[in-house]
Symmetry: C2
Subunit: 273 residues, 2 copies
Amino acid sequence: MSNCAGKCDGCGEDCSRRDFIAKQNQYSDIKHVFGIVSGKGGVGKSLTTGAVAALLARRGYRVGILDADITGPSIPKMFGIKTKARGGQDGVEPVITASGIKLMSINLLLEEETSPVVWRGPVIAGTIKQFWTDVIWGDIDVMLIDMPPGTGDVPLTAFQSLPIEGIFIVTTPQQLVSMVVEKAYNMAEMMNIPVLGLIENMSHVLCPDCGKQIPLFPGNGAEALAKKLHIPLLASAPLDPYLAALCDSGEIERINRGYFDAVAGEIYGKYMR
Amino acid sequence: MSNCAGKCDGCGEDCSRRDFIAKQNQYSDIKHVFGIVSGKGGVGKSLTTGAVAALLARRGYRVGILDADITGPSIPKMFGIKTKARGGQDGVEPVITASGIKLMSINLLLEEETSPVVWRGPVIAGTIKQFWTDVIWGDIDVMLIDMPPGTGDVPLTAFQSLPIEGIFIVTTPQQLVSMVVEKAYNMAEMMNIPVLGLIENMSHVLCPDCGKQIPLFPGNGAEALAKKLHIPLLASAPLDPYLAALCDSGEIERINRGYFDAVAGEIYGKYMR
């Protein structure tokens, strides 16, 4: 590890984050880590995380999901997980989904899935770190981190402590959402985390009777935002009742619509060769 | 102020919270305080807050909104506010909207609305307290607090420090959302905050061509949740592009659809006589 203070011109490397990065435990070998971020809540971060993880697992990669949304975790329900994580002397074992994805989420540690986690930020942030250091992840090709909304303790800790190679930012066409999403982009910039692309969710809804594409929000906020921030708009997913049903029934791994293919493609095309 | 530890059977009063309640400043006289809460992000807390505030102001009440979503504030944009809050020796002056609603939000204090607030939880929670103690609110009949998602520092501090008479919980029909929303309900229960009703958002969307009500999510999670928690389902609002347009153009005060009337009615009917 470097002894310098970072951001100097000395060696040409960006070492500003490296000294804070938490170590994996001896039973983990995690090769690539990406964050799914928004700043805004309810735009589809967990849906994106679950769908992209499923697509990567289908291609044979060993995938993990670290659910960093401690006070509003959606991941276990989306994968239909009813079991709990088990701990031993060496750490906590992640729960494994139908297609072999390894999960860790606070809801895998709570007796009741509706129990609130009423903790102050630093405790929540400590949990995220433990999900990295104390979970026996084993061999993981790609780890996706499902971030909570906001720019508070959790993204701050994740950006500082985990070796995130880049993040994908999720948004909707609504301008009000773009404004908050831009805060997350600016946070990532401040912390030297590469932003790999934008994902638009709720782009429209399809009328099941007349087939018309009904726009849900005026304007085209996502395209405008991608242009403004100079990042690619990788995906544009409608608000599809089929996806909501997959999430509610815990079957996100069965997704057979191509909305998120380009996001998975970006990961295996650029990083997994 | 009581000297007892609270929750005893001694005097029959619920004094468990009273010792933590922060004082208003000498220039504020706030009569009723309600929280708009969800646990889940992106379900329409700010929309509900803005719409209900507008309806109350239209009936002649003096209304304030404390935007407690420090890392994802939506309120100023929804009201088309472009000015900033000004501070003086005695405190900070709220910004006043077209219809006379007084607002305080972190975005009224930031130079750029897209600047991220990268703070740890206790600092964020301290800001909420200052929005109560250091803002010159003047005479307010009803103060609405727009809460952030989650059950972390901000709701914890708000529930402990502000004299909230009750909260309204916002949800959507999606079961996955219900699970997270129930966490917020259970947090309120733990902290002896009365839950006054449930508000369903995104109940459906109207096809502009064939007029068909398109359900966005399978099932009827909000009705089931209201029944389970024994609270009234006060409102059921569709995902209406007209509302999204009002929010994006900063004209929420012009709302002329009755989706949230019952929530405003609950407040002035039961509390303002």
